[in-house]
């Protein structure tokens, strides 16, 4: 295999690796750690709401009224076909107030082990930008090598996914 062909093959191998890495980063925009941070925020919010609702019920009981501490109040969102009315109830505040943040957080964290770790957003954005820059360099180099082969009368097929802006860059603009 000629040196140019080897060079092109090496460049293409590096391009493949970067494409694979980029696809993985794009497929998971939120890292496991970020997901758990969002869950923490929700648990804190529900805990506040749940404790407030419990306090109201207990104060009502102290004033001689009923203590409906296990009654869910709010709006039910109805969906579905006529004749059936499945609905969603927000159990978050009541559950968190009764069970506590820590046990629920532990359960969620255990389930989250199945979520790939992913890359946190700042590092992810930075890495995507680096991949884009590396791909620009590699693809320009690949195109230069291909053009040299064509000048020598030994053409090499371009990749079907070669970028037009690289392949057709005006002379001196690449």
């Amino acid at each position: 295999m000629s040196k140019t062909i080897e060079k092109i093959a090496t460049i293409r191998s590096k391009i493949d690796v970067l494409h694979t890495e980029r696809a993985a980063l794009l497929a998971q925009p939120v890292s496991r750690a970020d997901v758990l941070r969002r869950v923490d925020d929700a648990l804190t919010h529900w805990h506040t709401q749940g404790m407030a609702a419990l306090s109201i019920e207990l104060e009502r009981a102290a004033a001689g009224g009923r203590a409906d501490i296990f009654t869910l109040r709010g709006n039910a969102i109805t969906t579905g076909q006529p004749g059936a009315a499945p609905f969603a109830l927000d159990l978050g505040p009541l559950l968190v107030a009764l069970i506590g943040v820590a046990p629920l957080r532990k359960l969620v964290a255990q389930a989250a082990e199945r979520v790939p770790a992913g890359v946190e957003s700042k590092a992810r954005s930075s890495r995507l930008a680096m991949i884009a820059a590396e791909l620009d360099d590699l693809e320009r180099e690949e195109e230069q090598q291909i053009v040299l082969r064509e000048i020598d009368g030994m053409p090499v097929d371009r990749r079907a996914d070669a970028r037009p802006e690289i392949v057709l860059a005006a002379q001196g603009a690449a």
């Binding site: 053409p155 371009r158 990749r159 079907a160 802006e165 057709l168 860059a169 603009a173």
Partner: protein, 127 residues
């Protein structure tokens, strides 16, 4: 960022040449297959000889595995059988070339389509 229109025209021409070459090879593959089939059909045997007719009706790959003694006993000229096997092998090689070219043409077409779509964004590229 400008557009190298000469390069686009050159790449279109290369794609066209590749496609034409592929079509030529496809036709050659057909001819080779026809020639091999004709050679096979032209091997003469006694029409009353069932064994000979059964042997000649075998697929080429099985016919190639028959011992020379079996063919001779059936009155089949082994040199003709060897020529038929060689003709089929040649037809297979040309067919494989056509299949390889088909992959290259598909990839080339995909690239040309994307290059043309990209070039369409440049109003000065009236091609």
């Amino acid at each position: 960022m400008g557009l190298d229109t000469d390069k686009l025209l050159d790449l279109r021409a290369r794609h066209s040449d590749l496609r034409d070459h592929y079509l030529t090879v496809v036709e050659k593959a057909r001819e080779a297959r026809r020639d091999a089939a004709r050679m096979h059909a032209e091997i003469a045997v006694d029409p009353e000889d069932d064994d000979a007719r059964d042997l000649l009706a075998l697929p080429v790959a099985e016919l190639a595995n028959q011992p020379a003694g079996i063919l001779e006993k059936a009155g089949i000229d082994i040199r003709l059988v060897r020529r038929v096997i060689a003709a089929h092998a040649q037809a297979d090689r040309i067919r494989q070339s056509a299949e390889d070219l088909a992959k290259r043409v598909r990839a080339s077409q995909a690239l040309i389509d994307r290059l043309n779509q990209y070039a369409g964004k440049f109003p000065e590229a009236v091609l």
